[in-house]
């Protein structure tokens, strides 16, 4: 307060300034005269009161003038300098009088000196200090300046506090302390709070409240939080570095940071900015710090040693995080700065939960990279011990799978491979398989819907995993499945001892979170999961088809893989349904024996070994297959015919198949070369001698053969050619009457005039389907054996050198032949079945539409599946095809929206 205002105030009461006015505002209050008393009598009752008031006012004036805080003369600057006059005896006296003497406030009516001083300090702060702080805090604090702003604030406040406290401590406290002595000893020993102490505390508290209110609390808390976070980050660089090789000096010295932080915290605490707000800010900071640490490179997935990072995390919480918290809390003078073991545990779990969530978010990538991602998987495994973690895992992962795996762009092979990885990963995560069951359900349902799933699985199982060439990137075979097949059988008989095996360190209690239909399977290797994708019946049907095809083509005379596969499936699915497959397998094995015994009994004039160049142990391949049928229990067999030159004569081996048990096989009718036919007859009669009444029906379309062709300038041998191909090329042998072309009787023709046949002739000669003839012809053209001399007319290339221009045509034909060959399976395709039963299906549809009116395709499909004896193994597409065909025939009509009805005449 400047001089002028002080003069003014000494004359006129200025209420707003009243408490800062050191002099009495007005003349002393002389009390008033009670009713019935003479005015002004010195003997009135309150004479002493009057006297006291005057005295008090005087003392008040002296004391307040002495204690009043310096005011800056201009509003711009602030001075914290203490400009108090000398503490005279008067002042001393006045203070003592006001605080401890009679002038002490008695009933709260009068303002106490301490209250006045507090107000004085508050006002001083508001006018002098606060503008500076407001200037400092009015804008968002930049991250780079948080430390300095905070430090500056703290310094300003510290100065202000020092200023206020100085007078307080120097002048007021000593006076109050005199009171201390008068306090009864009993109270003192008990609560140990002296009046001076409590006055001190009260004053501080008031000051701190003023300080705290002068700052925007949210911004302050954010800033403080960032500062702590920053300090934490800087410090933990140090902490981690202790365990690693130090790479260069850290950008900031962690120790310095630590000191700086402690200083800031300590001084903040001193000016009253510690406490709850600071602790809250600190909590935020620690929260972020934990996240930062979890996402930092220290907790990266361990791709190299493939270990879990969880121990590291726990150690950090214990040895890094907790000490840091303790340090800060101690600086903030928190009552509970020591970390309890339970809190430690909580924090570790919390950190683990966050780590786990982060890992689960990218679990799909880890699955794909399995087994290199073992480290991450181990992390998640630790995480699963937490409450609710399993739910999070399954929900998150199912979403990832739905988004990234189960879409039309993924090939079935890839889905299967990923599924296998998922099985591995989840078996590691949770051996009981409850979570696996949950996440796998959508995948399994999806795989079931894909048509090629079964084929891929079974053919992959039958493929040699060592033969890497077969598993191309876009291929149909899954290397994963094939290599699973190579793994040894799991030990299936262990589980009965499981509960009693007290030495089992991996034992876990039965799962409590399993769905009601969960059933722990006995055998849990990958193949089991694949084999149980379907109902047993469906699967076995599929297996029969593929196994049939495979057995007929198999190169391994011992059928080791096939036997093993069958055993494997028996173990998993039970042996009762696999009878047909066993019969099939036994057929091919028996055939070998029968072949041998027939050959022995026949004393075949030709030596066998010479005809079979590629079967060293004399076991024949299975070149041609023929079915033999008995009325009820039939057998079919593809015999083996190394079909070679007339000189040596061909040999024949047969596969004898029990037609009842095999899937429906290709059965194209055509004539085989006469020599083969003779062999077949011979074989047949011998077989009937051995096998009693059984009859053979030859299936000429199956099997394969080796032929050696003699040309004028070369001799070529072809292995593994189809019987119809053999027949077609044999048809180019000179016929009787064509001896002019026969040369020496064993070649294919004469040098000047090669044997020529056209398609129609071949059809008549072989009684073969035209399509099949054309296929065979293009095969031989591709092999440069035949040449198309004019449309549909082919002749033998006797002299290769004479026809150099054929190579391009040959290449084209070879390509064509390859494409066609791929379409040739031994087992009839579904499309064939659909074609064959089309009439029945169509009359079903007609009947259905007649009886039930207009119905949608889905319902037709459903009814077909239910009603057709033997099942309707097709889908909506095929039903639509049938309907469309019937529509063109004018029988039915599409009503739109997939609904179909009978076309009214």
């Amino acid at each position: 307060m400047d001089h002028r205002s002080r003069v003014f105030a000494s004359v006129f009461a200025v209420p707003s300034l009243s408490h800062t006015t050191p002099t009495p505002i007005a003349t002393p209050d002389l009390g008033y005269t009670a009713l019935g008393q003479s005015f002004g009598s010195p003997f009135v009752a309150n004479a002493t009161g009057q006297h006291r008031a005057v005295k008090r006012n005087l003392a008040w004036s002296t004391a307040t003038r002495f204690l009043s805080l310096p005011k800056s003369s201009n509003s711009g600057g602030v001075s914290f300098e203490i400009r108090q006059g000398l503490k005279t005896a008067d002042v001393e006296e006045a203070l003592r009088y006001l605080i401890t003497g009679d002038g002490k406030t008695e009933d709260g009516n009068e303002e106490s000196l301490l209250d006045w001083y507090t107000s004085e300090a508050r006002l001083h702060f508001a006018t002098a200090v606060r503008p500076i702080l407001e200037h400092l805090w009015e804008k968002e604090i930049k991250l780079s300046s948080t430390w300095s702003v905070l430090e500056e604030t703290q310094q300003i406040l510290q100065h202000a506090q020092d200023l206020y406290m100085q007078s307080f401590n120097d002048h007021l406290i000593p006076v109050i302390q005199q009171l201390d002595g008068s306090v009864p000893t009993i109270r003192r020993s008990k609560s140990a709070i002296s009046p001076s102490e409590s006055a001190n505390r009260k004053f501080r508290r008031d000051l701190h409240a003023v300080f705290a209110h002068s700052l925007p609390s949210q911004r302050l808390s954010k800033t403080l939080s960032y500062v702590l976070y920053d300090a934490g980050c800087a410090m933990f660089r140090l902490f981690i570095r202790q365990h690693e090789v130090q790479i260069g000096p850290p950008p900031e010295d962690p120790t310095a940071i630590r000191e700086r932080m402690i200083t800031v915290l300590d001084s903040l605490e001193r000016v009253g900015l510690g406490g709850d707000t600071a602790q809250k800010a600190f909590a935020h900071a620690m929260d972020r710090l934990m996240d930062t640490f979890i996402n930092s490179h220290y907790l990266k997935v361990d791709w190299y040693s493939q270990k879990s990072t969880v121990p590291h995390l726990r150690m950090w919480i214990k040895d890094g995080f907790c000490p840091f918290v303790e340090l800060v809390l101690a600086s903030l003078k928190s009552d509970t700065w020591r970390i309890q073991p339970t809190e430690l545990q909580q924090w570790q779990d919390m950190a683990l939960g966050r780590l786990g969530k982060a890992r689960v978010e990218t679990l799909f990538d880890f699955v794909i990279k399995w087994p290199k991602s073992m480290g991450a998987i181990q992390d998640i495994k630790e995480y699963l011990k937490l409450l609710n973690a399993k739910n999070n895992l399954t929900t998150a992962f199912r979403q990832q799978v739905a988004r990234r795996l189960l879409h039309p762009g993924a090939t079935t092979t890839w889905i299967l491979n990923v599924y296998i990885s998922i099985i591995h990963v989840f078996q590691t995560l949770e051996p009981k398989g409850v979570q696996l069951e949950r996440v796998a359900r959508p995948i399994r349902n999806y795989l079931k819907e894909r048509e090629d799933t079964g084929r891929i699985i079974i053919s992959s199982l039958l493929t040699d995993s060592n033969d890497r060439t077969k598993f191309g990137a876009g291929g149909e075979l899954s290397y994963e499945i094939a290599s699973e097949m190579q793994k040894p059988f799991a030990n299936f008989n262990q589980e009965e001892d499981e509960e009693l095996n007290w030495g089992d360190m991996n034992w876990q209690p039965a799962p409590t979170d399993a769905s009601p239909d969960f059933k722990k399977s006995k055998v849990e290797d990958v193949i089991w999961f694949l084999l149980t994708l379907w109902d047993r019946e469906e699967f076995i049907n599929e297996l029969k088809n593929i196994l049939g095809d495979h057995l007929l083509k198999a190169a391994d005379p011992e059928f080791e893989k096939e036997i093993r596969l069958l055993e494997l499936i028996k173990v998993r699915l039970g042996d009762d349904k696999l009878q047909a497959c066993e019969v099939m397998l036994r057929d091919v094995l028996d055939s070998k024996r029968i072949n041998a015994s027939i050959r022995a009994s026949g004393n075949s004039p030709q030596p066998q070994g010479l005809q079979l160049p590629r079967t060293p142990d004399g076991v024949p391949k299975t070149p041609e297959s023929y079915r033999l049928a008995k009325p009820s229990k039939a057998q079919l067999l593809p015999p083996s015919t190394p079909d070679s030159k007339p000189l040596q004569g061909p040999t024949l081996n047969a596969q004898i198949l029990s037609s009842f048990f095999w899937p429906s096989l290709r059965d194209d009718e055509f004539r085989v070369p006469a020599e083969i036919e003779a062999l077949q007859k011979d074989y047949e009669s011998r077989f009937e001698r051995i096998k009693g009444m059984r009859k053979l029906r030859w299936m000429n379309a199956l099997g394969d053969g080796s032929v050696t062709l003699d040309f004028e300038d070369r001799t070529e041998t072809f292995d593994k050619v189809f019987p119809w191909q053999v027949s077609v090329v044999y048809a180019f042998q000179p016929k009787p009457g064509e001896e002019w072309a026969a040369g020496k009787g064993k070649g294919k023709g004469k040098s000047n005039q090669a044997v020529t046949r056209n398609v129609q002739q071949l059809e008549e000669m072989l009684e073969m389907d035209e399509q099949l003839i054309r296929q065979a012809l293009s095969f031989w053209v591709g092999k440069s054996v035949l040449r198309e001399v004019s449309t549909d007319t082919y002749s033998v290339i006797e002299n290769k050198s004479s026809a150099p221009s054929d190579s391009a045509a040959a290449a084209a034909a070879e390509e064509l032949a390859e494409v066609q060959a791929q379409e040739q399976g031994a087992v009839r395709s579904q499309a064939d079945v659909l074609l064959e039963k089309k009439d029945i299906y169509q009359s079903f549809i007609m009947g259905m539409l007649t009886a039930q009116g207009n119905i949608p395709v889905m319902r037709i499909l459903m009814m077909m599946r239910m009603l057709v004896v033997g099942g309707f193994p097709f889908g909506e597409e095929e039903v639509k095809m049938l309907l469309e065909e019937m529509e063109t025939e004018g029988k039915v009509i599409g009503m739109g929206g997939d609904v179909w009805g009978i076309k009214k005449a």
Partner: protein, 161 residues
């Protein structure tokens, strides 16, 4: 268990009958389950040529009991028909559907019998006396009443709605 077992055999038998009907359809006759329940069938018969019913199509329903084929199915004309052996609610008087039923009959044979009944009514035990009388005495009027009473399947469907 017993009922389950027998209804399974009923279903099997009916499925087989259906398959047979599909494999060798009879001209002018169709039969098919009405919905996913195999015990309810809908059938159609075309009136035989040279009868008053020529070129008319009649809809029938079959209800099979769980004891089928040891009891006859309940067969009703759904299309209104003017016929001596069929009453106005479609009930049929035919010996093989009553006391002469035997397990060797099946849906196909019942439909064939009904088709022939259209051309050769049994006037000795009529359910519709007027029809029996007119059949013998006034074929013109009979034919007129047949046509008056007949409804096409479309009209039937429209009524059902």
């Amino acid at each position: 268990m017993a009922t389950n077992g027998s209804s399974a055999t009923v279903a099997q038998r009916l499925q087989k009958e259906l398959m047979d009907l599909m494999l060798s359809p009879n001209p002018g006759l169709t039969a098919f389950p009405s919905d996913s329940n195999l015990l309810h069938w809908t059938a159609t018969i075309e009136g035989p040529a040279d009868t008053p019913y020529a070129s008319l199509t009649f809809k029938l329903t079959f209800e099979f009991a769980s004891t089928y084929p040891y009891t006859a199915p309940t067969v009703l004309f759904k299309t209104p028909i003017f016929h001596p052996n069929v009453d106005f609610s479609g009930r049929i008087c035919l010996d093989i559907l009553k006391e002469k039923w035997s397990a060797v009959y099946n849906v196909g044979s019942v439909l064939l019998s009904l088709q022939s009944l259209l051309g050769e009514p049994n006037n000795s035990s009529p359910l519709n006396g007027q029809a029996a009388e007119l059949w013998d005495n006034d074929p013109e009027e009979f034919k007129r009443l047949v046509l008056a009473r007949h409804k096409t399947p479309e009209e039937l469907d429209a009524e059902a709605l």
